[in-house]
């Protein structure tokens, strides 16, 4: 293992890429930890955004305007502002205020940067999920819904048993696309010093000036993650396929 690592570093050095940080435990260990943090971040935000998307969808379709209208406003706000600004508004404003308020009663702020990134990204992508699902709902054949209603399903049962399962299937390509965007966006977590792979790379390349070498690693890493997500999406699409629809 060690021999092949040295051989790899030598070969990369001949191509002009500096991977010597892998030999230094003080840099290798944080870097590998950054990889783990990035993966945790992706998993947490995928789950969080799915939940946020579902909640937003229910709110958007709510029959009371005082629930639907704020949800609509939130969707428009989050779709039309940069995620970085949203992240700063949450972390540098809300988190700062929480820290200051808690300091008055001598309590440490329990919310860490990781939490804020997951929260902001989940809400942001949740809005996109909700929009994709809403489009799927509008595409449902009205006869199916009438059939369900005539069988005596009430609104709630119809939503969970008939509308949502069918909508999930039609909206799946759009949802998977959102998840791929989400994976790419987690690179931004480095902006508030979450120790993800991008952040650790920035620390290494400011020391060693090997931007290109690390950039290739990051691109490959995110390429792999997005590939895995789209693979999972295709698998789900095949699993949930309704016979008689599509190619």
């Amino acid at each position: 293992m060690a021999v092949s690592l040295h051989a790899f570093i030598d070969a990369a050095a001949r191509a002009g890429l500096d991977y010597r940080f892998l030999l230094d435990a003080y840099e290798r260990v944080p870097f590998l930890h950054g990889v783990v943090v990035s993966i945790e971040l992706v998993i947490a935000t995928i789950a969080g955004s799915a939940l946020a998307g579902l909640l937003l969808l229910i709110a958007l379709r709510h029959r009371h305007a005082w629930i639907a209208a704020p949800a609509r406003a939130f969707v428009e706000l989050t779709r039309n502002t940069p995620t970085l600004v949203q992240l700063y508004c949450a972390f540098l404003v809300l988190n700062m205020l929480i820290t200051q308020w808690l300091r008055e009663s001598h309590i440490d702020n329990p919310f860490k940067p990781f939490f804020w990134v997951v929260l902001v990204w989940s809400l942001h992508k949740g809005a996109f999920h909700a929009e994709a699902l809403r489009a799927g709902f509008d595409a449902l054949p009205v006869q199916t819904l009438e059939g369900a209603a005539s069988l005596g399903f009430d609104r709630r049962t119809r939503f969970w048993r008939i509308e949502l399962p069918l909508t999930l299937r039609t909206a799946l390509p759009a949802l998977v696309n959102n998840f791929v965007e989400l994976v790419k966006a987690t690179a931004l977590a480095s902006a508030i010093a979450v120790g993800d792979v991008t952040y650790q790379s920035i620390i290494i390349w400011t020391q060693r000036d090997n931007v290109l070498a690390l950039m290739i690693v990051i691109l490959l890493f995110f390429g792999l993650l997005t590939w895995l997500v789209s693979l999972a999406g295709r698998w789900l699409e095949r699993r949930l396929w309704i016979p008689g629809y599509g190619a």
Binding site: P70, N80, L92, Q100, M215, G223
Partner: protein, 281 residues
């Protein structure tokens, strides 16, 4: 039809059947954009009031007024970068989109370009151009500076070109194949069909998604603050750490949010309006 109450268990289906009822329910209440702006102002006002602070709120406002020109100047840089990136991206994207239609090797390279730059994280591209490109270069013995904002413009032009190439492909794909065949039978060459028959029809269809790309790129210019360009967000950070008052920080970041929203939301509204107009002229 019998008058229906909102509590009817079938109200949603009935409103689907009756398009007019649906539109009426939609139109009730303030427009979502206004509601969003109101929400930000209310939440911001609450936070501003309750932010623990030593000085008076009036002084905070005075400091904010002092910093306003700097913030506006920062946002002008965001707009400059977005316009530059979309201009370069459009030219590149149209060329790549046209190449991508060809089944030959250049076509394959063009399709690879689209795949690569649609899937790369923008932040990585921004870091890449900022740190890998030289800070100046020499042409015919003259040394020209290569400023960072231009590098970020190029970095954002890459994904813009990939997205615009896709917009182009989508527009060309929406033209029925029979038109190509009919023009071909009139002895037009492929390039001639594209130029004289397909493209004129594509322009209208491309406008809404193209504006969408513009709005997304504008939001992407937020990344430039991470590589030390003095854009709106960087200015907000400098301002909040210089003034160092909680209420000022609340004000500055919410102003940043509102400025971006005020710029991007009208674009998105206009895009929707255009889409509707093109769908049913």
């Amino acid at each position: 039809m019998a008058p229906r109450s909102a509590a009817s268990p079938f109200s949603d289906i009935e409103s689907r059947r009756d398009g007019r009822a649906r539109r009426i329910t939609r139109a009730r209440g303030p427009a979502p954009g206004t509601a969003a702006a109101l929400g930000v102002l209310i939440v911001g006002g609450l936070l501003w009031t309750f932010a623990p602070d030593s000085g008076s709120r009036g002084e905070t406002l005075a400091r904010f007024v002092e910093w306003t020109p700097a913030l506006v100047h920062g946002f002008a840089l965001n707009v400059l970068i977005s316009v530059g990136a979309v201009a370069i991206g459009s030219i590149l994207g149209l060329a790549i989109g046209a190449l991508g239609l060809a089944p030959s090797l250049p076509g394959r390279i063009a399709r690879f370009w689209v795949q690569a730059f649609r899937n790369a994280p923008w932040l990585v591209l921004v870091y890449f151009t900022t740190y890998v490109f030289p800070f100046e270069f020499t042409v015919f013995g003259k040394t020209l500076p290569f400023p960072d904002w231009l590098k970020v413009t190029l970095a954002l032009a890459l994904p813009a070109s990939a997205n615009i190439a896709e917009v182009f492909r989508g527009a060309v794909a929406s033209i029925p194949t029979t038109q190509w065949e009919a023009a071909g039978s009139l002895a037009f060459s492929r390039a001639q069909i594209l130029r004289h028959i397909v493209l004129p029809q594509c322009v209208r269809r491309m406008l809404p998604p193209w504006m969408n790309v513009y709005a997304i790129i504008t939001m992407g210019t937020a990344l430039s603050s991470l590589v030390g360009i003095h854009d709106l967000i960087d200015t907000a950070q400098v301002a909040s750490s210089t003034v160092a008052r909680s209420s000022f920080t609340v004000l500055t970041y919410l102003a940043t949010l509102v400025i971006f929203f005020a710029y991007c939301y009208p674009i998105s509204l206009f895009t929707h309006w255009l889409e509707k107009r093109i769908a049913n002229p």
